[in-house]
């Protein structure tokens, strides 16, 4: 009997979760509510069954996520055995940092990058699981499964450890931390096929519906609440759209689509001609911008 590719990926991810819990103390799962987080959480439940999750979830919030995302997050947090920590950068809250007045770069840095560092320091987490995949972006293709960060949360590409066979070295000095990526070898299509196979709940924004949209610099933005300032003469128009990735609603572009079900989304994906990150506004800042963000401590 040969395992199917999804079984093989699943087993590999489960083994990674168990290895971290066996070898380290104080881990956390970074839960960003998207499809990758959903799969990550599902795999973690499998890894420790019949026991409960041996670590909490952490959502580094920005107050600017889609309303549908908050709804799913709260549902997940209410499940038995789940402990969810929500962190809001108090400085960002005090200054009212938002993508409209401060721009996407400042917004992302203060809420997400600084917020994540604050939360990791506050709770003393030594290991943080993340849902990053190697197929997402070029600088990720070389990322390790166990990615080491200095006590300043910086990522040094030259000081990462070789990973052979299924052997991971989780030893670290005091103050250092590890980001662990159990989905490293998954592709976007694998994630969707697994969600379908396992019937994992995801945010409905991934499926096409009529939604109020404004078009700015080629990006289709959804007017998710009244905080979105409209330019003179700008009126939201109902368009049939869905999202390939989810983040802060003012920074996440939708795609026009008729894919209303999981099967249709997978079908659309197989025919897709553009990569997943196309809809993300933050990646366009500068070439290699993801890598710079990573070195500074962005996930």
């Amino acid at each position: 009997m040969t395992l199917t590719h999804l079984q093989r990926l699943e087993s590999e991810s489960i083994a990674i979760f168990r290895e971290v819990v066996a070898e380290t103390a104080n881990a956390v799962l970074l839960y960003s509510i998207g499809k990758d987080s959903a799969v990550l959480l599902h795999l973690a439940k499998k890894a420790f069954y019949p026991g409960p999750l041996p670590f909490p979830l952490l959502h580094v919030d920005t107050t600017w996520k889609f309303r549908d995302m908050y709804a799913l997050r709260d549902r997940v947090a209410a499940e038995p055995g789940i402990r969810l920590i929500v962190h809001l950068n108090p400085e960002a809250q005090a200054k009212g940092i938002n993508p409209f007045t401060h721009g996407s770069a400042v917004h992302t840095d203060v809420w997400k990058t600084q917020g994540l560092k604050q939360a990791l320091d506050k709770y003393g987490f030594e290991v943080a699981f993340g849902g990053a995949r190697r197929d997402e972006e070029k600088s990720r293709a070389k990322e390790r499964v166990f990615s080491f960060r200095t006590d300043q949360h910086r990522w040094d590409p030259k000081r990462q450890r070789p990973e052979l066979w299924r052997l991971y070295n989780s030893r670290k000095h005091k103050g250092e931390s590890i980001r662990v990526f159990p989905l490293s070898n998954w592709t976007e299509l694998d994630v969707w096929q697994y969600i379908e196979r396992e019937n994992i709940p995801v945010v409905p924004l991934y499926f096409a519906r009529e939604r109020p949209i404004v078009e700015r610099e080629g990006a289709l933005l959804m007017v998710d609440d009244e905080r979105m300032p409209l330019a003179q003469g700008e009126t939201p128009v109902m368009r049939r759209v869905r999202f390939r990735t989810l983040g802060c609603y003012p920074l996440t572009g939708a795609i026009e689509s008729a894919a209303e079900t999981l099967a249709e989304v997978i079908e659309e994906m197989k025919r897709s001609q553009s990569s997943e990150r196309q809809g993300r506004v933050i990646d366009r800042d500068a070439p290699a911008s993801m890598e710079h963000k990573k070195q500074e401590g962005y996930f």
């Binding site: 040969t2 093989r8 197929d135 070389k142 052979l164």
Partner: protein, 647 residues
Amino acid sequence: MPPSPPTAGTPPIVRGRPDAPAPDAGTSLRVEKSLLRFNTCGSVDDGKSTLIGRLLYESKALFDDELAALAADSRRSGTRDGEIDYALLLDGLSAEREQGITIDVAYRFFSTERRNFIVADTPGHEQYTRNMVTGASTADLSVILVDARKGISAQTRRHSFIVSLLGIQHVVLAVNKMDLVGYDEGAFVRIEQDYRGFAEQLGLLAVTCIPLSAVHGDNVVRSSAAMPWYRGPSLLTLLERVELDEFRVAQQPLRFPVQWVNRPSPDFRGFAGTVVAGQVRKGDAIRVQPSGRTSRVARIVTFEGDLEQAAVGQAITLTLDDEIDVSRGDLIVPADQPAEVADQFETTIVWMDEAPLLPGRSYLLKIGTRTVTATIAPLKYKMNVTTLQRLAASTLELNEIGVCNLQLDRAIAFDPYKTNRDTGGFILIDRMTNDTVGAGMLHFALRRAKNVHWQALDVNKTARAAQMGQKPCLLWYTGLSGAGKSTIANLVDKRIHAEGRCTYVLDGDNVRHGLNKDLGFTDADRVENIRRIAEVAKLMVDAGLIVGAAFISPFRAERQMARALLGQGEFIEIFIDTPLGVAEERDPKGLYKKARRGDLKNFTGIDSPYEPPENPELRIDTTNTSPEEAAEKVIAFLQQRGTFEAV
């Protein structure tokens, strides 16, 4: 040059553009495919990047925006005169791109209707061995590229050696650039014959040679019309059909390394892990190694419910019929088909760290889910990976490969690496930096490990110490040359000997006249020097003595090793902390002057490092302390710990 678009005859491909055949929505969603991991070896000159680029392109794994970005990058870098340069695609980190070097392993993904693929590519020449070994460690198959115009090169031999070392079962020799030799069958056959002879020497059995042109796509995805004389499969067809390594290990007896003990409640105790060989069924009689205890499998627990059986690659949780002691690192095997158990092995080691491997030093060794301490015996030889010659060596530098014996601090269960990668492959971890410094393969257990057993003696350390009315210990004096270690050790010894205690002093200079006269002052020899002294001191402590050892012992790792050899509280590290300036001023043997003149190499403090203790039991600064006062402090410490009272 950019690949030409696919034409009729292209195998149907899944993730597609509109020109690809439409997958059948009703059934293809449910098609469960297998996963093949392979690696590619060769340089950009052999057309490796073009080949991978073409596989990705033809299997529609490149999106339009990625292609557009690649085209823009190619124009900017100008390396291919404006044509698409696939090397840029596989070359991820901007730091590396700016310096024009690549130092790592990149993973890329693509799929066809039959299979999903993960390609590990090791670009560049720097750190090549380390990266290729890493990429190859998880591969089911290796694609080795050669240029049809050049044939088998030194590099081809190097790649093939590493592939054979890593135990990869299937090798594809991709003879590229056939277009540049006019698609000539003779040229291909000569290269194939050359290579098969060499591959046989290495023990590579399943070798497929394919003539291809990555630039034009011949025999990459579809069979080439330009080479009708070639009847074999195209590269992609072969990749789709080749047997996975999983298949081979599935035939072997069960191997299940216990990864984590799951105890959510007092009435559930499960052993979580991944099956790395064979299969396990409910009710199977099993043995837990190395302890050898036996039991039966009660349940195979998963999130989806209990299973009747589980196969290679599955992550499961086992419960057993009996409450026997099982912990992380143990290996569960069939009761009647156990793995070998040993603590001494012959191994091949690939060194991956800037600091060289030092025989005699102890490293952490991680194999499966078990981590133990390993001491490396002097190297038998290192390999010239190009000529396959064996060379004499005392250390291994970064990217070197050598063969040596290895001694563990306790016995482990294992299989030879060539039987199973997961129960025979290991990494070495530096205890101080925590870095992964090496990777290795266990070949076989040394016979003496199996046949030489520890002889339990009736008169033991406690009995001997009781007779002497003292608690044995090892006083380890460390510090720079001229700090006063020997003087203080001698004074302490005189004082306690006068009080009727049984003592001995091991002195740095003295042991080099006998036991260690074959050793010099290189880092490797210093490590071995300390290892031998620590073992001798251990025997003396076992004999009940109060032992003094006065050695510069500059490295923390070796002092740690000596500490680990002794019992709790028996190792007393005394740091004779004298600033270099003061020690050099004293220079009792005139050694600093010699070292400064350059007449004495590897002198600690001058051109060889001293790593001060982080938490010594006692620290004595001799700048303003006389040797007599220092000895007084040591004796006071000994009194306080009860050394002079009966056990």
